[in-house]
Symmetry: C2
Subunit: 307 residues, 2 copies
């Protein structure tokens, strides 16, 4: 691996340098995508075809993983949270840069026992543990909420880029589970992914400002690839936007490029995200920021393995 | 028809009052959608099924109406225009509110003989004349261009609302022909329509500022229905986004509610729009603005019937 000439200060343990002073080329992923041992691959719950699809494409969709009826209480609890002034005034809540409506609520599994139980759902956890090859904990949980006619989108990015730079996540051994609390359709701003994009790391240019998260969660400007970096990848590999009813689940690799558009429909789009990290990939000192982000954005204390 | 109490100054020839001081309910369309006489219905080129679909839904899609190869010269000429500093500095060119890239070029058929000929294409013109029941002229022509990764969207609106209020178009006897100069897909911000929305007029609140077009063509704030007005219509009638290769044509009624999202893909979306108005529906004094818009936005001089 060659670094840009002025990147003399890159740490020797940094396998994915980013937030650079000068551009550098993409880095081929040197972490596995599926971390299961041969025995774990064999044991399930995912079969060899599903594991191969995740390796190749970087995401898996499970239509109606939960019954829509089971999901309703979560939606109701979320609505109640959104009316709780103590919560909406806290730093766990991020508002929309345009409309001012609630955009994200972080730390869902700590705010609610119902959401916490969901992260431990054995059916779900077994899949996550198989993919990550052993014990996991919740690195971050959040709701991304796009109200009808007002939810702004998210530009293309890799979550791992931020988690590595700002949280000190060393390797790519984490994934997101996105649970649809509402139907996700063509018109309410569904998540778009670039299949196969998780197989290379796109280093970004620009040092991380202090307290970057205070603005980046509304609209990300640092840590996003340029159009020149994105163009060739997306033109070659395309875009997919999985769609389905409330209760469906999207599982995607920590380094998969994803984005979403504004919601111009009257139909709200509420998606719950649980990020699981391997207990063998615990956070160290951030690779591209002066100090780590707050605990509700990136858990580094009190994180026993689930399951 | 009952007006809001303070709308005493609405002109007696105003069948669709809008830009009001106080909200009023929707107005059922009292103009026909298909203006063809029984003989013209019979004569074609559209058959009874297509005519009924346009009446019911407010738009028709013709996949690959022109060959993609025939379309390329138009795209090339457009690119040349976009590099012409005299043109890009003129009031015919509207730039994107976010990126500064070219968003629209107006008066295409006056800038280019090739585009002018296209508006007279007999195959196209016969369809338009059948739907509008006789002679037509070009009320407005424009390109809407969404560059990859940067084209902003358009909020829900009815074109007729603006043409009526700001241009003095008396009745609903006009339609847009949108010719796809690039493929229109799920991810490059295709036009979205609400089927059946053309059958009612949604009056908007808010007086038209002087020279409104100087800002409204970048981002429209006056003359757009509220979320409260849009919600029930879209929830009941849904959204459709016709897609297809370059050379396809979308024909839509002047009062059809439509919108489009940003282009988060690397694939540009360039659509040419020709607005045809019936020669029996020529512009009068604007119904909701102090003075008419410039000629390149709304033709009122020198407009002989085509065909």
């Amino acid at each position: 691996m060659t670094y840009a000439p002025n990147q003399l200060s890159i740490r020797s343990d940094d396998g994915y340098p980013t937030r650079l002073d000068a551009p550098m080329g993409n880095i081929a992923r040197h972490c596995p995508v599926v971390h299961a041992t041969p025995e774990q691959r064999q044991a399930g719950p995912l079969d060899e075809q599903e594991l191969a699809a995740f390796e190749e494409r970087g995401f898996l969709w499970f239509d109606s993983f939960f019954e829509a009826d089971d999901i309703e209480p979560f939606f109701d609890e979320l609505s109640a949270m959104e009316r709780d002034p103590e919560l909406t005034g806290s730093d766990k809540v991020i508002t929309d840069p345009v409309s001012g409506a609630i955009r994200s609520v972080f730390g869902m599994h700590e705010l609610s026992e119902r959401f916490d139980r969901l992260t431990r759902s054995p059916r779900l956890l077994k899949i996550v543990e198989q993919l990550l090859g052993g014990g996991v904990y919740v690195h971050q949980s959040r709701i991304n909420d796009k109200a009808g006619f007002q939810g702004s989108g998210f530009d293309w990015h890799s979550d791992f880029e931020t988690w590595h730079a700002e949280d000190g996540m060393p390797g790519m051994r984490a994934l997101s589970v996105s649970l649809m609390l509402t139907d996700n359709g063509e018109f309410n701003g569904p998540l778009m992914l670039v299949p196969g994009s998780h197989r290379q790391f796109v280093p970004t240019v620009g040092r991380t400002p202090d307290q970057n998260w205070e603005t980046s969660l509304k609209a990300q400007h640092i840590g996003v690839p340029t159009r020149e970096q994105l163009g060739p990848i997306i033109e070659k590999q395309g875009i997919e936007a999985p769609k389905g009813p409330a209760g469906s689940i999207l599982l995607f690799d920590c380094n998969a490029l994803h984005a979403s558009n504004s919601n111009l429909s009257p139909w709200p789009r509420s998606n719950l995200f649980f990020v699981y990290n391997s207990v063998d990939n615990r956070l160290v000192t951030p690779f591209g920021a002066k100090s780590p982000r707050p605990e509700h954005l990136a858990a580094r204390e009190r994180t026993p393995a689930l399951g």
